[in-house]
Amino acid sequence: MEIKRLSAPLSDNDVLQLKAGDNVLISGVIYTARDAAHKKMAELIKAGQPLPIDLKGQIIYYVGPTPAKPGQAIGSAGPTTSGRMDAYTPLILEHGLKACIGKGFRNAAVKEALQKFKGVYLAAVGGAGALLSKRVLKSEVVAYPELGAEAIYRLEVKDFPATVINDAYGNDLYEEGVKAYAR
């Protein structure tokens, strides 16, 4: 099985070479955010205020890890359901985000925004939190520490495995994969 290597943050070119169904390994810096952090960032954008992180070229990982034990970079850290972020994702893509990692369906508005702003939606394996935690070398809270597991963390990752679900060309692995195997 062919695997593409990605170095985060991403350029438009990085995004445009990806197709739904591609398996990738990501290395570099990515950020975490889930429901509460998205809500806060959307409010800041709407109020014309600066964001706690520069979104340009970045990858956001939808995750709320377990607390790290002493000596661990992070606790168990698998993806959460992405659909809960759909309301905010087009706005975040408009402000420079290139990719998000989660699991599960995105709505039509997100898929449209991925084409318009040249972005991709990736899925990591839901429920593989222990395995995925080993691909995180370092984590630190960069915003909203009061949110606990929902704070924005800066993660340094190496060979973080993910699969392209929605590419910048309107393809959707969830639709195509199911069609290929339904009977």
Partner: protein, 281 residues
Amino acid sequence: MREVKAETIINVVAEMCEEANLYLGDDVVNALQKALEREESPTGKEVLRQLLENLEIARNEKIPVCQDTGFAVFFVEWGKDAYLAGEGSLEDAINAGVRKGYTEGYLRKSIVKDPLNRVNTGDNTPAVVYTSIVPGDKVKIIFAPKGGGSENMSAVKMLKPSDGVEGVVDFVVNHVKASGANPCPPIVVGVAIGGTFDKVAVLAKKALLRPLGQPNPDPFYADLEQKILKKINDLGIGPQGFGGRVTALAVHIETYPAHIASMPAAVNINCHVARHVERVI
């Protein structure tokens, strides 16, 4: 009367919290291995390999299998010849055990105090506790932490008696189809039929406690489990919804007598992280 100390309940519950979140049963490991043999999609196979490796890492390095360490759900069978010694109720003791287990075990605290204003309780309490009083003087505790992603993909439908078995099959299969990738397939599908609106939902959750693939003792329902499982796997959703042959590892059906006017049905979905541990005190 046999005395069971609240402190014993607290300590046992705390141990169970950690055990359930770090170690999955052999039934789940076997089901995933069988799924890997059966899966035809290369991406699906890769997912199943990652899930098996994930269980190894969790076990060897004591990292929770999944970061969503769940709502703490307990089924307690309390022997009527035993009494709880110490202050407070059984639920108080269980909550104290959850507090201890989730804090000392570095497990995620996923419970908010109010469903609308959503401030985290900070210790994963309160638990959800179902208690039945049974003969004897033993106390059996079953703990099944339940993740939010798969719980969100669950449903109750008040079917009509005339909907028959086809009505139940269509309800379950269509529901799994609509859930797609969201509940982290391969999934375990808990189905219940009968009882009341509330009873059927609890029974669907209870169906998830059965060891994976252990059939319903009634041959009619054992057949129905296999029939629904085949239909679900023919949907093509596959591991993680990437397309493939293995969408569900098992379908478990539980039933209860029904009112002459009613035929409630419920489906409670569990992801492949089918956590349940049992202790007898």
